[in-house]
């Protein structure tokens, strides 16, 4: 619901973006990146640092620590210089009224198999849903994005769902 008299934020052009799959990108999972990530969190379990310990615990190699997925593989021609993630192709269709602020509403990940160092994942993302609500911060546009990760065997190993709020 929007404020009385205001036109809906979501336009037909925006709705047309729902479900469109992005070009795929590659996420190499490697030991150095896993160790750096685990160290920065403060993980103490040797499985994140020592391949022999990881194998003894039943993993193929160092496993991805929780939250690792989404860590960008940097490339200067395609990555954002501050956040490291892929630069978008552009802002895309805009809401009917300008929204100035952005909040990260949170992330949820479902895992379907182990992801370990040596894996080469292929990811694609799409806009899954758009919703508008009015709350204490005014009219909000809530967008849900899904990213599907497949491993080198083509198996879906994880699906990440992110929620962004513009207001």
């Amino acid at each position: 619901m929007t404020q009385t008299g205001a036109q809906p934020l979501i336009t037909d052009e925006m709705r047309a973006e729902i479900g469109k799959e992005s070009a795929p990108w590659t996420c190499e999972v490697d030991k150095t990146a896993i160790r750096m990530f685990a160290r920065s969190v403060g993980h103490t379990d040797p499985v994140f640092y020592d391949e022999a310990a990881a194998k003894a615990a039943g993993y193929r190699s160092l496993p991805c620590p929780p939250g690792y997925l989404g860590t960008p593989v940097f490339h200067p021609s395609t990555s954002d210089s501050t956040f490291g993630g892929r630069r978008g192709a552009g802002p895309g269709p805009q809401p009917s009224r300008p929204l100035k602020r952005v909040l990260n509403g949170g992330t949820e990940i479902e895992y379907f198999d182990d992801i370990c160092a040596g894996d080469v994942l292929t990811a694609t993302s799409h806009l899954a849903a758009l919703e508008e609500r009015t709350g204490s911060i005014g009219d909000m546009l809530i967008s849900t994005n899904k990213t599907v990760y497949k491993n080198q065997q083509g198996k879906v190993v994880a699906i990440s769902t992110g929620t962004g709020i513009r207001y």
Partner: protein, 138 residues
């Protein structure tokens, strides 16, 4: 010792994981995660954006809760799903208590599962990063 499916029950609390981020850790996280947004390590920049000072990355708190679950569940269990939302800011040099509790224990599709509620707590006792997870046990 990792949690054992036979011993856990609804209401079982995870051992509390206490974090307290130095600015050094925020810089390590910037490198480890690839997120170099200056509000997490450049105080003048952070204040210039209207923040009271440096703030802890939301995704780092997400990873802290991941460590909480990993350390409790061990390496024979697997994280089946996990998510959290960012409700409040946390600051360096302040305790961040990572806590969790089993909310449901059940078997489904031949899998032994436990649903968890997890969260980070600031020194005022506020839950700044509430989340939920499902763990699959062996």
């Amino acid at each position: 010792m990792a949690a054992n499916w036979d011993e856990i029950k609804e209401g079982t609390e995870l051992p509390v994981l206490k974090k307290n981020c130095s600015t050094q850790q925020l810089v390590q996280w910037a490198a480890g995660s690839g997120d170099f947004y200056q509000i997490h390590y450049d105080k003048d920049f952070a204040i210039g954006t209207g923040l009271p000072g440096l703030i802890v990355h939301g995704a780092l708190k997400n990873a802290f809760l991941g460590q909480l679950i990993h350390d409790w569940a061990g390496n024979t269990a697997r994280l089946k799903s996990y998510g959290c939302s960012y409700r409040g800011m946390d600051y360096p040099n302040e305790d961040i208590l990572c806590k969790g509790v089993v909310t449901r224990k059940y078997e489904e599709g031949g899998e032994k599962l436990a649903d968890l509620e997890v969260w980070t707590e600031n020194p005022k006792g506020q839950k700044t990063t509430p989340g939920t997870a499902t763990v699959r046990f062996k």
